[in-house]
Subunit: 202 residues, 2 copies
DNA sequence: TGACTTAATCGTACGCGTACGCTTATATTG
DNA sequence: CAATATAAGCGTACGCGTACGATTAAGTCA
């Protein structure tokens, strides 16, 4: 009953399977680069990768799972930017503000990407697990912001520090969501919103 | 050159056109009630309304425009709830908190509706104008929260009051967005997030 | 009346994600 | 060898939103 003496066609070796997985990802990526996000369809990926459309579903449960790898690059790019901008600032509070501003600025400047990642109905309704299990974005944020928080006096120890961080994250995402999806409203410069939060809480 | 002496088939009278518009809306609504949101497709609306699918597009520019009327009911329901819950509270600050909690609770309890309205990529990318021009939700919020704000000391006059309100709205929407779309993360009870904001700023 | 013009209706077609099930390849077992 | 079992690959089909253009209806004008 072990896997060496099973009936039927054996599964392909892991490395071979992995090679195909990567071929698919890389094909999707190059389609994204050369033709833009809307062109990244299952049919086009399959055609360009030289396989049948439904074969993709042997390697990924759905389209989103393929797109994870593209989304992850958005966040890589974003965190590089954030780290660079933070380094230019002096003082924990200024740096924290810079994190928020840069993070926010990125999404507002790339509204299409924000829509892709955050306004993805499929992602939101299924157990997609991109943020934590695919790209551990919470960890990356903690990596950037954690050191700053130690320099700031957030009362209440570790657990309330997390509550504070999560609040801030909700806030920033909310600003992006509103500014991007309710574009018909005359929003103020988002620096003002950030200031209200940081000036009050710090 | 006036509309009474134009060549060609005349436009149908406004009331007749309006009758069809309402027939479409009402059909969409009854489909939503009896079969659920995913069943509200252009083809089904048209079939049930007894017209060709593409005829719908003579009366609405796209599917979202039809759905506006369903979304508006969500907000009607929501604001009734908010007003009822606020009335149970004493004191402006408690009431303001209750507004946030009830608003947030509604969306978390109706995640599907939040997705429909806020995570709608089409809405977010086109000039959909639902929030301001179709249902003036900003005005409704101001109607509920405005009186409370006068009792609270927000420094800086009218304009910074709006900045404060907008901040709060971003924050609440952000909490909903994160809790709903990043469900794999172990979020705290959202009351804690609200408290951080309100306790610091008031 | 027939030619012309404009409005209303909607049939057809495209590309989408993906459910389902068939075909083919490759192993073990008798 | 044939029978059987499992995996890999993918063809077909469905329902979706909607672009496009043909068809039909209903007026004016010569």
């Amino acid at each position: 009953m072990n896997q060496e003496s099973r009936k039927g066609r054996p599964k392909q070796p892991d490395d071979e399977r992995q090679k195909k997985v990567e071929k698919i990802i890389q094909t999707a990526h190059s389609l994204f680069i050369t033709e833009g996000y809307p062109s990244v369809s299952m049919r086009k990926i399959a055609a360009k990768a030289g396989m049948g459309t439904m074969t993709l579903y042997k390697y990924f449960p759905n389209k989103n799972a393929i797109l994870h790898h593209i989304w992850a690059e958005f966040f890589d790019e974003l965190f590089v930017l954030v780290k660079a901008e933070v380094a230019k600032q002096q003082g924990a509070k200024n740096q924290l503000k810079q994190v928020c501003m840069t993070y926010l600025h990125y999404w507002v400047e790339h509204k299409d990407r924000f829509r892709i990642v955050f306004l993805n109905e499929d992602r939101a309704s299924s157990d997609d697990e991109f943020f934590i299990n695919h790209a551990n974005i919470a960890a990356e944020i903690l990596d950037v912001v954690g050191p700053l928080m130690e320099d700031l006096s957030i009362p209440g120890g570790q657990s309330s520090l997390m509550v504070y961080l999560e609040s801030l994250m909700c806030f920033v995402h909310g600003i992006a969501l509103n500014v991007i999806t309710i574009s018909e409203y005359p929003w103020n410069e988002y620096e003002k919103y950030i200031d209200i939060f940081l000036d009050s809480t710090l």
